[in-house]
Amino acid sequence: MLGSGNEEMSTLPGLNQIQLEGFCRFIDRGLTEGLFKFPKIEDTDQEIEFQLFAETYQLLEPLINEKDAVYESLTYSAELYVSTGLIWKSSRDIKKQTIFVGNIPLMNSLGTSIVNGIYRIVINQILQSPGIYYRSELDPNGISVYTGTIISDWGGRLELEIDKKARIWARVSRKQKISILILLSAMGSNLSEILENVCYPEIFVSFLNDKDKKKIGSKENAILEFYRQFACVGGDPVFSESLWKELQKKFFQQRCELGRIGRRNMNQKLNLDIPQNNTFLLPRDILTAASHLIGMKFGMALLDDINHLKNKRIRSVADLLQDQFGLALVRLENMVRGTICGAIRHKLIPTPQNLVTSTPLTTTYESFFGLHPLSQVLDQTNPLTEIVHGRKLSYLGPGGLTGRTASFRIRDIHPSHYGRICPIDTSEGINVGLIGSLAIHARIGIWGAIESPFFEISERSKRIRMLYLSPSIDEYYMVATGNSLALTRDIQEEQIVPARYRQEFLTIAWEQVHLRSIYPFQYFSIGASLIPFIEHNDANRALMSSNMQRQAVPLSQSEKCIVGTGLECQVALDSGVSAIADHEGNIVYTDTDRIFLFVNGDTLSIPLTIYQRSNKNTCMHQKPQVHRGKFIKKGQILADGAATVGGELALGKNVLVAYMPWEGYNSEDAVLISERLVYEDIFTSFHIRKYEIQTHMTSYGSERITNKIPHLEANLLRNLDKNGIVILGSWVETGDVLVGKLTPQMAKESSYSPEDRLLRAILGIQVSTSKETCLKLPIGGRGRVIDVRWIQKKGGSSYNPETIRISILQKREIKVGDKVAGRHGNKGIVSKILSRQDMPYLQDGEPVDMVFNPLGVPSRMNVGQIFECSLGLSGGMLDKHYRITPFDERYEQEASRKLVFSELYEASKKTSNPWIFEPEYPGKSKIFDGRTGNSFKQPAIMGKTYILKLIHQVDDKIHGRSSGHYALVTQQPLRGRAKQGGQRVGEMEVWALEGFGVAHILQEMLTYKSDHIKTRQEVLGTTIIGGTIPKPTDAPESFRLLVRELRSLAMELNHFLVSEKNFRIHRKEA
């Protein structure tokens, strides 16, 4: 990496290291810390004492392995055992027992947990670091007011404020502020102490008036006054112990607990030396903070930048799990306390075993993983998605911000993000900027700060050291940003380099540089660093690309990209989708679903994943890549997983594209494709869906699973076996019954509609004693049944509920309406599939596979796609794969372009195809229309680009409704495809109908397709009986709205009756 010598090589850190480290921290330290906090519990008479021996805790290895946990829908967890003791104080008797405290879900090697058979991941949260922050604000009169905000470990705030008269206030709630002296007195210091410890006592004295003097006279008075202001209660509360306790709980614990990080920050900021274990706010802190504030008023200190990363901390899995652990132990403590007291009262002798149950810990973790906003279902669309999900950093969640209220400032990129949080990879939409992604080289330090690596440049030693620096430190160094220096290290003395210093970009001499960045991709997240030529793309499009790569569907036959960045390998490796040899050995036997490896005398069986469903319904499948008799080294790839080829990430396919308009079929981001992509299975993907049904106990008996369903036609039941469950391997279509189920029901004549009853009487159908509640295949669900599972759970006394789970695999070719995208944010929808002879073709007769619109490039400013396209062409011709690091322009002007052109030239020379590189229009070529054989007017850019098929597919979206259900309250059609909903005819749509004068459609939409309940029912009646549909007589609410709208346009629409006799007008309300 760095020229001569083997000076500390730097490799990429494991991409899921951030999760694993967090979890290890929890297991190593968090557990013991939590257990040590568990107090000794005494009963009310103080006869018995219960205690945990924290140091003796044990975690048992789980009985099942990960794959079984997924298959059986269980939680992959370890049992926690702690030895406990019960001490009888009178007799000094100790009863010791090792007891089961509960289950702790474990993390697997990929950084995910398996809870109830579902892969889940806990996302790291970014929070404001506890400590004090100084700001200045302008008050309505334009005078700046200085405030210092103390943020507690829990996110509570306490504000100190100095106003124009140099009075210092503490703001305890949003409106109320109290004098700082009252706060300090309430915290237990008296006036003389205050004045002694403060830098500017005269200021404190100056705003001390007689009234205040009385209030701070005694601690009780101060507390009383403080309570009155804090709780906003009027009148005169009397000082009592309970009042003090409430204040303790609500104020001093929530807003004044700094935690260890907070204490450290406080000490650093205010130059204090309070010991680390003192995690609460002390009067001394406030006094020093107040002096600081005064100093600020005199212009002697700097304001804080609240968005700087040094003022943030990461709350990782470790912290979240530890918080939950603490919570569970508190619950356990309360429970133990309750049981001890109960046992004593009933004169029973308790044992530790019956004092402690596993419920608090187990349920706490279960609800944490199930309900906590930061614990999310692992997005498993493709391997990249899995990796990226674990590296997300979120401002949201408890104690954080919300998408709707977060300011623009906080969403913005900050100079301190360099090398820590990716400046481009964030979600689009409401959470933009609030969910970030960790840069590839960054790691999380012990204080919850994100650290970025740098190379230290020192004169003294030739050795180059790598340092991980937190955001508070690297600002004070000159950091050379480019590493072009690596090439010309010998003449570095004369060089002037661009550098970063204190959020500024400077150009300085090489000698002045302290540090330099290690890798051009250091600043980016994984998603962004998989984009080749990213430096030529607009950041917005790069953002879209990094998001869209995560939506790529694994294809049935993956293909490596011709043009890549070299990071594909690491991503595939760390995602864990491919099977990798843990030991070296010989392959004894390979099969589709397992590989046997002979290692040091014993045979290891390595199971492979075969057509498994992922959380996003994509297909996970491993294909063995090794053959019998081969010797395997440790770390060698045994089987490629979904979307990986040869251990490299392969999300899409290299297809031949041209940038040209084609009959308007690619206007506005539509894409024209060749049918080759269909019949050669280029963009064919597998999707596995899971359908489940359960049997329940009803008041008339239990539900039955059977294949004899009299209510349904035999055709729908054709796939059922004799038990009433679909046969494995059968092909099912929409509406087919997967599981036949009957629910017992009271046989009642009156439950049928009159016409139904008549029919039954005529045809002599017996009144059924059951209702069919079969599991039917919903719309769009056709496919092959690949798995049928019958799970019997041991339920209550006599009845065992059953669950039947059916997996259906669907093979989807690309079709019109599917979304495809490149890696540069160039996305589009397939608009037409042309036969290969109709597609435009190149000069060697090869038809193009996709036609993009050239107008999609200039306004989007993602020129990277053009470079990739041309380089891909030469790569395809020369059978070469390119791995390109970004920002090559710093070595030379227009380096990317030169590279692409030289490669094209070479390809054209070697394959003797002069049209590949034509000097008049390099990269472009004449293209011919497949229908006429004429060449198009202008030469167009053509080449090979890596194209992904995204998970947004028509099959999941296409939907229509003629009639269906209506919402109960509004009587309007339901929303959404899943509920057979309708398309909303909103205001603007109604205007359009009005504008075109389509009265009948408008009438239909506003009456019987909408909230006119009576007509709707009449329509139903007439369609059954026959006859013409009656015209509605009165107007529904939606029509009244229309009338009101017309009135607001000064048009009166009314209903008049003119009497024939006297021409008197009777007005009717419309």
């Binding site: 269909v678 093979k811 013409t1028």
Partner: protein, 333 residues
């Protein structure tokens, strides 16, 4: 001018295979020239032949697989390295050469261990395998694998998902396209004082037929497409007769209509464009007609009353009511 024309027509068009190459068993290449052509002719022939070669040359493919051992496409067979789906994909890729019609049967009967390749397919006499070494599966255990195949000759491609699971057979997406790529280029030159052109034609095939054969088949296809024009007059006559047959007055109340022969054609077009939806028929009759695939008034009138009565739920009164409605709406002026 007349003389010039004559001169051109006497010079015969000639084609020649300039280059022919077998890159691999499944990649044949051939380059042909056709000359001399008059200005513009090369383009006409070139594009037509390219489109035919790419789109309409017939190929032979395995279209259906049947085996008792296979539970479904996405399962695995013990002792075989590939999954069933991968075997199917490999079978799809196999290139066959044949001159058969319809569907024929083939089979694989293999006893492991060993590699199953294309030469293990037992084929009917009219079908040949192009590349014997095409891989199908790797059997690692002594398993007996028995697969029945169906072979079909067709053009284009077909993606089917049929439901005939019960007999254990699976359709494979078929791709009957023996021609891989075609290119043509035109070179014009001046011969004497007129411009002439040479057509270069490059053809790549998958080995199931040589480029020469492909060219021959394409030309034949193309000629077949033009044959109707050679009998232009007869065909027109035929068409007229057809039309006459359609309008034979069978319906009883059609008589009213036939009176004026001059107005007939006009009327017919009108009748064709009137859909029965516009007649405001009672819903029951309307549905009944719709179900019997009667959509326009013309279709309605070309049925006799007896025919109508044969339809399900069509009563005698209905015929009358239709007549009434038609009269009211003045379709019979």
């Amino acid at each position: 001018m007349v003389q010039e024309k004559l001169r051109v027509s006497t010079r015969t068009l000639q084609w020649k295979c300039v280059e022919s190459r077998i890159d691999s068993k499944r990649l044949y290449y051939g380059r042909f020239i056709l000359s001399p052509l008059m200005k513009g002719q090369a383009d006409t022939i070139g594009i037509a032949i390219r489109r035919i070669l790419l789109g309409e040359i017939e190929g032979t493919c395995i279209t259906c697989v049947k085996s008792e051992k296979i539970p479904h496409e996405y399962s695995t067979i013990i002792g075989i390295e590939e999954s069933v789906h991968e075997i199917f994909m490999n079978l799809k890729e196999i290139v066959l050469k044949s001159n058969m019609y319809g569907i024929q049967d083939a089979s694989i009967s293999f006893k492991g261990p060993g590699y199953i390749t294309a030469q293990d397919i037992i084929l009917p006499p009219s079908v040949e395998i192009v590349d014997n070494r095409q891989h199908i599966a790797n059997v690692t255990e002594p398993v007996h694998l028995c697969i029945e195949l169906k072979i079909e000759r067709n053009r284009g491609y077909r993606i089917k998902t049929l439901k005939n699971f019960q007999d254990g057979s699976y359709d494979i997406d078929a791709r009957f396209m023996p021609v891989r790529n075609v290119n043509y280029s035109i070179h014009s030159y001046v011969n004497g004082n007129e411009k002439q052109e040479i057509l270069f034609l490059e053809i790549w095939t998958n080995g199931s037929l040589t480029p020469k054969e492909a060219l021959y088949e394409a030309s034949q296809n193309l000629i077949e497409l033009f044959i109707p024009f050679l009998h232009a007059e007869e065909d027109n006559f035929h068409l007229e007769k057809n039309q006459h047959k359609v309008t034979l007055p069978l319906f009883t109340f059609h008589d009213i209509l036939v009176k004026d022969k001059l107005r007939k054609n006009q009327k017919e077009i009108a009748l064709k464009s009137i859909f029965i939806d516009q007649l405001e028929l009672p819903p029951r009759i309307y549905n009944c007609l719709k179900r019997s695939n009667i959509h326009t008034l013309l279709e309605l009138l070309s049925n006799s009353q007896e025919d109508l009565l044969k339809f399900e739920h069509f009563h005698v009164e209905d015929g009358k009511s239709i007549l009434d409605i038609l009269k009211i709406q003045k379709y019979f002026a």
